[in-house]
Every structure is written in C-alpha cells, then in structure tokens.
Symmetry: C3
Subunit: 208 residues, 3 copies
Amino acid sequence: MPFSSLIDFLGTFAFAISGIRLASGKQIDWFGAYIIGLVTAIGGGTLRDLLLDVRPFWMLDPNYFIATGWALLATLLFKEQLLRWGNTLFLFDTIGLGLFTIVGITKSLEAGLPFWVCVVMGTITGSLGGVIRDVLLNEVPLLFRKDIYALACVAGGAVYFGCAALQLPKEITESAAAAVVILSRWLAVQFHIHLPQLPPIEQNPGKS
Amino acid sequence: MPFSSLIDFLGTFAFAISGIRLASGKQIDWFGAYIIGLVTAIGGGTLRDLLLDVRPFWMLDPNYFIATGWALLATLLFKEQLLRWGNTLFLFDTIGLGLFTIVGITKSLEAGLPFWVCVVMGTITGSLGGVIRDVLLNEVPLLFRKDIYALACVAGGAVYFGCAALQLPKEITESAAAAVVILSRWLAVQFHIHLPQLPPIEQNPGKS
Amino acid sequence: MPFSSLIDFLGTFAFAISGIRLASGKQIDWFGAYIIGLVTAIGGGTLRDLLLDVRPFWMLDPNYFIATGWALLATLLFKEQLLRWGNTLFLFDTIGLGLFTIVGITKSLEAGLPFWVCVVMGTITGSLGGVIRDVLLNEVPLLFRKDIYALACVAGGAVYFGCAALQLPKEITESAAAAVVILSRWLAVQFHIHLPQLPPIEQNPGKS
C-alpha cells in the first residue's frame, strides 16, 4: 500500500457515495444501494486481482465493507447536505481515483507485467467500478460519455513510467503519478474539458 | 455437495426457468433464452469460483447445461401452465437459493476464508445469477428494487456461523442455515416485506 | 495460434469496428469508443482465460490494443465509406468469429477440459465480446435477438470434435471447424435464417 489507509478509506467512502447517490430515486432499497456503493468502490480492484490471479484485496480486509456502510449511513442521514458537500466528495473521489490507479500499477508491477499492461490495470482499478455502477443502474456508463476519467488514469500511468525511467525514488514516482491523475481530472471538470464525441455513423443492418 | 443432487438439479431448473420467463416477449430467440436461463443458474457460482481461484463447478458436470435444456423445453411446451405452477416454481427457486448459498459458504470455508467472506460468497452464489439476468435483459436488477433476496442469503450465512460457533454438527448447521434462507425469502414474499427505498437525492453534476 | 497473426489482427480490427460503430451517435467520446471497441474484441477471450486460470492473452501482446487504435482511426477517417465497406467488414468479422472460436477450443483442450466444455469456451471466446458491447451500450444483446451467431460457434465446435474423433490431422480439423462457423454465420445472414423467438409468457409477480 503506497498511501496511508486513511486515504484508502476516504477513497472507498467517496466511491461508495457516488454509487449510492446515483442509485437514489430509482426505487432501489437500502440493501441494493449498499451493494451498488460497494461494487462502485471495489469492482475495479476485483477485476484487477482476477486478471492478476491473486486473492481479491477485499477478502483480506473488511474495511471496504465497513467504509461502504458508513457511506450508506451518511447518505441516509445527511442527504440534504450532500449537495453542499459536493466539492468535498468530489475531492475524495478524485483522490481515490489517483490512489486506486497507483495501487493498480504497483500490484501489476509486482506481478512482473510489462509497463503498458500496468497502465491498463491502473486504469481498470480506478475506472471499472463506475462502469459497473452505471450498467447496474441501466445507463450508458458516464465514463464513455463525458469528463476525463479513465484518460486521467492513463496519463498518471504514463507519468509513473516516465519517472521510473528516470530512476526517481519510488515515493516521488508514486506521488507524481497520483498528482497527475488528480490534477487531470480536477482541471477537466473545472474547465469543462471533454474529448470530442463520436459522430453518428450509418449502420449496416447485417452485423450483430 | 451438502445436499442431494436432485435438489441441485431442481434449483438449477427453477433458476433457469426464472431467466427464460423474464426473457419471454422480448424478441429473444430460443438459443438466447437458453443462454439467459443458463447464466441465471450458473452465474453466481461461476463468479464465486473465479474469486476462489478454483475450476468453475460447471466444467466438472454437464448436468447444469442439461437442466437448463429441460427448463427451456418445459417453458416452450407448458407455457400456458407456468402461471398456475407459479408456487411450485417459486418453491424450487427458493430451495435453490438456500442450497446455492450453503454451497457457496462451504466452498469458501474449504478455501480457508474468514467467516464474513464466506457469507459474502454465499450471497454471491445465490444472488448474482439473477443480477446478470436482469442486466442482460436491460433492466435494473430486481434484487436492488424489491423483495428480500440477497438479504435472505446474508441471514442464512449469519445463522450458519452462529451454529458453527455453537459447534453444532455440520448437517444441522447447513440445514438450519438453508432453512433460514428459504423461510426469510418465503415470508418476505408472502407478507410483502420490503426494505425501505432510498429517497431521491439531489445530484451534483460534476461527478461521474 | 492455429492461424496467422494477420487473420488475428483482421479479426480484432473487425470486432473493434463493430463496437465503435454501434457506439457512434450515442454521445460517446473517442476514448469511450476505443474502450468499447477494445472490449468487443478482447472481452470473450478474457473471460475464457479467467475461466481457464491462465494469464489473459492480451497481457502478452500489445497488438490487440494497436489493432483497436487502427479501428478507431479508420472509423473516424472513413466514416462515409464504412457503409460501402460493410461486406468486407462483415467478412473480417465472420472470419474473426471462426478464428476466435477455434482459438478458444484449442486453448481449452490444452487445459485438459472435456470436449463439451471446449465447445462452450469456443463459443464464449467468439461471442461474449459482442454481449459486453451491447450491455455497455444499454441494449439487449443482439446475440439473443437475431441472427445465428453463438450457434455458429457451437456448430463449429461440434465439427471440430467430429473431425477429431475421426483422427483427422489438426490442420484439417481446425480449418473445417472454422469454415463451418464462417459458413453458418454467412448463410444465416444471407438468407435471413433465424431461430424462432420465445413467445410472451405470463409473469408471476412474486418472483425476482
């Protein structure tokens, strides 16, 4: 774990809140909301660990389940205030994205994978939870539609391996990469920076 | 296998029927219906085995594919009668839920996992198939919306470890836990017991 | 690898194009389109490798990511021409289906699995990418609704084991099986051959 478990807890909490909030108003009950929050927080790391063929991280530490419980409780108790706390939650969420990306890269490096696979695994760790959340809520994943999200993970991964190529110390490499993830996402949201969208293309009805 | 394979067959049959019925009337062809029935029946155990890093159970026994074939045949031949058989199918389905949950717990215990992970794995075994079914049919999973379903698995898991802590014999522990899953689900449906739903929460447009 | 990597590249390219085209006009940005194209191309083989408990094939070869990049570029540059190229792309896609199915069968045989599991794994390898694509795009998978697609993989798998039972040489077995996949799919599309659809069945509201 390259960062303190406090940041890990806050990232999980913020990811879970983002799942629970999107579940609200969709006739989903408390337990369903808990599961959606949980899957948002741990879905990416779970696929990463399956792909790496290691024991899923959450089997070794119940704190991910506990943080999601706190997220549900906070959402139920303070739903009036959540909008006001939007920026704080966005901060946690973005820090969580940076952290999860670096954890994904580090675990993949330890498994002996080449650098480009590590960047993919960092991106999966940071992004997939939100994709599963949107699929469960029956929406086209936000990730594909707007904001710089997965691309921020890719940028952070590139910086990680740039720093590693320069033989910078591990702490600096990890901090710089996380900072790039966090800053890319933050700047993209602040300044409404989007990638261009794919224009409509005529479809060939014979394909499936 | 803690129960007879007849119960296993009936549970698979009932899970597959629930998938095939929900697929009906959605312009899905026979083979598509077969696949949806199959995934409903084996989806949960497949993720469990991936997470446990053991060979997926259905690779060792073609009966799950055969039971799904019988389910498709029964649905096609007796579609008029299916509604009348609703209670029998619900009974199979609920017994299957209890059985699958216990199988999930037992396999996870054998893998040396702590008790709370075993409860999670039992719940995944019993519930995930229905979630995949609903995602494939492009609906918000029923599991999140109504009825006590996954929560019945959690309750059964708690009873399992309660009995185990009292050092009751394996047979009694497993039977009691399965009975609690089946009874919780049965009572919830009979008496329309639901968890409260998550109220609408104002969304912060900056999050994705 | 039973076929040349050129065919592998073309199959990946065609699968990726089918993902990117279906993503067009849905307010999906370039990076989202890239990911959907990638998942369409590698999703089936990834689940196969997870089920077989081997390292996912794309971790060993960046060409799958590169072919998807070319597919995105081609889609953006030549979107006017794509419809006219429909038959060529359909040819690649169908050849890719045949190839991916055989790769799935061969890898599963090497893992020591019984023949019917190998047919299932070949079908997963060829078909699952398109299912994930449709789930991400929030549609009921085309696979379940029309055309002979997964069934062509099953037919090819049956021919594979028929040839193997006759002790035909490996090259002939693989070519015959791939040809059957390709021909079944091609003929089904040319002559609008469909399986019957599942009729509507009255639903029992108590089930979830």
